[in-house]
């Protein structure tokens, strides 16, 4: 790693932060910790408050309540130019009247870095993002991917303590997006920079993050490692927003230290006790059944926990096939068949048995 880019990562802590626009709270009593050197994703649908949260960290909004700390310092009221955060904007916001070099040098000049230091640091930053030789291009002559690299170089050259990324991949085409995703992750890990990343794309969040914060309606639904969020969703919203889920109504019968028994689909199941929330006997819940944890079998197969039904539709996707199966009653389950063979595909109307991988079934509260 080039020595002009040594970075001293700091944690970002939001404590009970609220931001209102008029009477509506865009961010409502949110507490988030982004650990130093880690990549934390704020994930949620549009309007969930994730960008507002990011802008409060960057200093573009002041919280109405609560505190924001970067490292040991409370930064409430500190204007953006006095913060050690740097943002890569969704539209990149390159200065159209400047060359690539001038764009990258801007932050150094604005903060009065000694003149002699500027060219080597800019060159290092451009090398880091693979844009050596582009210094004298005007920003209008760059492709979308190149513009984004300039935006990264421009942010990183000033050695920020925290890097803020506002949907940085949303303006790129699908192939480039996957490629840049990997690059961002490797850049972040080699620099060891604290990064807060805003996205509405759950796949992006899962593949990039150390820590995912799922937001909805201005509050935090759940935060944790990507696999925690996926395998142990705290709410129906999280289970629904991330990946595909089948929800089946259940009633909790007994609660033990590590186990619960529930009534669902006309039978009794023993499941692992949820770790994300409390459960009580007699309470209504929802079973989260991921399609990849359901398996199709011949209708008369014995063993395990399974339910008979009829294939309602088939979608062949190449790498997988997706079935919907109607059980008795009005329950319809989506089942994924990995590595399907065209000749062996089942057809609508076929009788099948859907087997549950009981150890992968999770219970969330039934909010309704």
């Amino acid at each position: 790693m080039s020595n002009t880019l040594r970075i001293d990562p700091q944690s970002v802590v939001l404590e009970r932060v609220t931001k209102r626009f008029g009477t509506t709270a865009a961010v409502d009593d949110v507490t988030i910790t982004a650990e130093a050197g880690m990549l934390t994703t704020l994930l949620g649908p549009s309007g969930c408050g994730k960008t507002t949260t990011l802008r409060m960290i960057g200093g573009f909004y002041d919280p109405d309540e609560g505190s924001i700390r970067i490292g040991p310092k409370v930064v409430n009221g500190v204007p953006p130019h006095a913060r050690s955060t740097r943002t890569v904007f969704q539209s990149y916001a390159l200065f159209p009247h400047m060359t690539v070099f001038e764009n990258v040098a801007f932050g150094l000049r604005a903060t009065r870095v000694p003149r002699a230091e500027i060219p080597p640091r800019v060159q290092d930053a451009l090398a880091l993002v693979g844009l050596e030789g582009f210094a004298q291009r005007s920003s209008g002559q760059l492709s979308g991917g190149q513009q984004q690299r300039v935006a990264f170089a421009r942010a990183l050259v000033t050695r920020p303590e925290v890097l803020l990324l506002d949907e940085p991949l949303s303006n790129l085409d699908a192939k480039l997006r996957v490629h840049m995703r990997a690059e961002i992750r490797s850049l972040q890990q080699t620099l060891g920079i604290t990064t807060v990343y805003v996205t509405h794309d759950q796949e992006e969040a899962m593949s990039l993050s150390d820590h995912v914060v799922v937001m909805s309606d201005g509050h935090v639904e759940q935060q944790g490692a990507p696999h925690d969020i996926y395998e142990r969703p705290a709410t129906r919203f999280v289970a629904d927003f991330i990946g595909v889920s089948n929800f089946v109504a259940a009633t909790i019968r007994t609660v033990a230290a590590a186990e619960v028994t529930v009534d669902a689909l006309g039978t009794q199941l023993r499941l692992a006790r949820p770790t994300t929330h409390d459960v009580y006997e007699g309470e209504a819940g929802l079973l989260v059944l991921r399609p990849e944890h359901l398996h199709l079998e011949e209708p008369d197969t014995v063993g395990g926990v399974g339910f008979e039904g009829t294939v309602a539709s088939v979608a062949y996707l190449g790498a997988a096939a997706s079935y919907t199966v109607a059980l008795h009653g009005d329950t319809v389950l989506t089942v994924e068949d990995p590595a399907p063979r065209g000749a062996a595909l089942r057809r609508p109307g076929d009788r099948v048995r859907v087997r549950l991988q009981v150890d992968r079934v999770y219970v969330v509260p039934d909010a309704s």
């Binding site: 919280p63 309540e65 409370v74 953006p80 969704q90 200065f95 000033t158």
Partner: protein, 574 residues
């Protein structure tokens, strides 16, 4: 960790001392140069001869036949000239945005020429063409004589009178209608008209039911604007009106105000007429700003492009083409006839080539020429920079009440020149012995400055709308303080706008007479006033020479800025 209790926060603009300082400066400027002069006019118009307040002058205005005829003349002339301006503006705009006719680029350029000329220059050129000794009327006389008519002058069509004023004002003001209407036409999605035709609408049906209704708000607001300028015009009525208007005993409002003050020294009546001019102007301005803008169907954003409507009937196309060609030829001949007049011994009598007028003009008006260039240039630069700085504050660092400040700062745009000039003469002229500036260069400079600041504000705020605020956020995010960010990011992006506002302001000041006629002094004369006096005194050769000097110097500045910005004439079409 204790939760931080929110401390009461001051508005953002107060936390930045530079911003607060510039705001204070803007507020002070507006109070001193807009509100105070307007206020003094109001007070003068109701001040009784022995102190106290009186409405007697207003009563006199609305009961005297003479003053009422002045009002009727103004309304009639302005109404007709406005209607004609709309027709011409639409013809040019439609040809340019909807047809594939030749010479579109030529028409677009020619339309802008009247905007670069003083309002009364066209009136003056009309005298050279159609006055009693005008080229055309002389020729007609010769034809009559050759035909052996008893009175060959019966063939002549002399320009003095309402028709002349209407013609001059139409030619002067239709470019404004053109600019608004062509922007609106270009912004109407062509697919709307195509959809109408696709659904079976014929050309006229589509025009009547789709194009014109979509255009209506823009056309209406340009009509109001043009009417406002017509109603407060001074040049053409003064040059061509004299005793031959619809009501021949009376003049029109703006010249009458000037006669009352400069001829009769009746400040009370002069200010009363000014107030009477202010009221409709303000109503029209407020209506246009706050009502029409919300109703407009077209939002002018990005780069509007012309397209060709394939189904325009040839008869329509070529009729419009003929109108545009005729008007363009006429505009060009206006410039040519003035140039010719400058180098002709005695217009209409002796067409010998001479440098005499030019020499006279250059010696007698040397000081005026320098004054005009320096004062207009300086004030235009100040107005452009200060106006755009204000626009930046208003849009990017707003505070509660910013709309009031914006409205007040924009007022000089709505207030007729006569009013702003008279306001300055009253406010800073010793009648209100507080600040006395009469006879100085600063009274002219400040008047120019405050009247052109609205152009800076207007073009600045529309340019700022095109600049994504995230660009400025990026600057702040990278550690740039507000002043640094404005200096290095926002202002450079507004460079073309600043230059445009400068040029526009400069040309307006060089050619203005209605305001400065109250403010010039023997020590500080101006080119435009010298020119007007020469026309008034019938010294047509010298007047033409002065016109040429004015045209050449404005075009020179225009060319320089064109080179600087690389944008050319486009910068006038904000």
């Amino acid at each position: 960790m204790a939760v931080l209790t929110p401390r009461p926060r001051r508005p953002r603009f107060l936390r930045e001392p530079v911003v607060a300082f510039v705001y204070a400066l803007v507020a002070l400027t507006v109070a001193l140069l807009v509100l105070y002069p307007t206020f003094t006019i109001l007070v003068e118009s109701v001040r009784g001869p022995e102190g106290g307040l009186t409405l007697a002058r207003y009563q006199r205005f609305f009961t005297s036949t003479y003053f009422l005829h002045t009002l009727y003349n103004t309304l009639l002339v302005s109404g007709i000239a406005t209607a004609l301006s709309l027709v011409l503006g639409f013809a040019f705009a439609y040809v340019v945005t909807r047809t594939d006719l030749p010479l579109k680029g030529f028409f677009t350029a020619v339309v802008l020429v009247p905007m670069l000329l003083p309002a009364f220059l066209i009136a003056f050129a009309l005298i050279l063409l159609l006055g009693r000794n005008g080229v055309i009327n002389r020729a007609l006389y010769e034809i009559g004589a050759w035909l052996g008519m008893a009175d060959p002058s019966a063939l002549q069509w002399v320009i003095f009178g309402s028709h002349g004023v209407i013609m001059a004002q139409t030619l002067t003001f239709f470019p404004m209608a053109f600019l608004v209407i062509s922007a609106a036409l270009a912004a109407i999605d062509p697919r709307m008209e195509e959809a109408a035709e696709d659904l079976g609408g014929g050309y006229w049906f589509t025009m009547r039911r789709v194009t014109l209704p979509l255009l209506a708000p823009a056309a209406f607001s340009s009509a109001l604007l043009v009417f406002m300028f017509n109603a407060s015009a001074f040049g053409a009525p003064a040059v061509l009106g004299g005793g031959r208007l619809f009501f021949p005993q009376a003049s029109m409002l703006a010249p009458e105000a000037i006669i009352q003050i400069l001829g009769l020294y009746d400040w009370g009546m002069g200010t009363t007429i000014a107030v009477i001019l202010v009221v409709p102007s303000l109503i029209i301005y407020v209506f246009g700003e706050y009502y029409l803008k919300k109703r407009s169907y077209v939002t002018v954003t990005g780069t509007p492009t012309a397209f060709t409507l394939r189904t325009v009937p040839p008869a329509v196309k070529w009729t419009l083409f003929a109108i545009c060609l005729l008007v363009s030829v006429f505009i060009i001949s206006v410039v040519l006839v003035v140039v010719a007049g400058a180098f002709t011994r005695t217009w209409g009598v002796n067409y010998e080539l001479t440098w005499r007028h030019m020499a006279t003009a250059l010696t007698a008006s040397r000081a005026s020429i320098t004054n005009s260039l320096l004062l207009s240039g300086g004030a235009a630069a100040a107005a452009a920079v200060f106006g755009i700085l204000s626009a930046y504050l208003f849009t990017r660092r707003p505070f509660p009440g910013v709309r009031v400040l914006d409205f007040t700062a924009m007022l000089p745009y709505a207030l007729p020149g006569v009013v702003m000039g008279l306001g300055f003469a009253v406010a800073f002229g010793g009648r209100w012995s507080w600040i006395v500036l009469t006879g100085t260069a600063s009274i002219i400079f400040l008047n120019h400055f405050i009247r052109r600041m609205p152009f800076g504000i207007r073009s600045g705020s529309s340019a700022l709308k095109q600049i994504d605020p995230v660009i400025e956020e990026a600057a702040a995010d990278l550690g740039a303080k507000p002043v640094y960010s404005f200096r290095r990011v926002t202002f450079p992006l507004l460079r073309a706008t600043v230059l445009g506002a400068f040029v526009f302001g400069f040309i307006n000041m060089m050619t203005d007479i209605t305001a400065v006629i109250f403010l010039v002094s023997p020590r500080w004369r101006l080119l435009s006033i010298d020119l007007f006096n020469a026309i008034d005194a019938g010294r047509l050769g010298v007047a033409a020479a002065l016109s040429v000097i004015m045209i050449v110097s404005t075009f020179a500045v225009l060319l320089i800025v064109w080179r600087l910005s690389g944008k050319g004439l486009d910068l006038l079409r904000r």
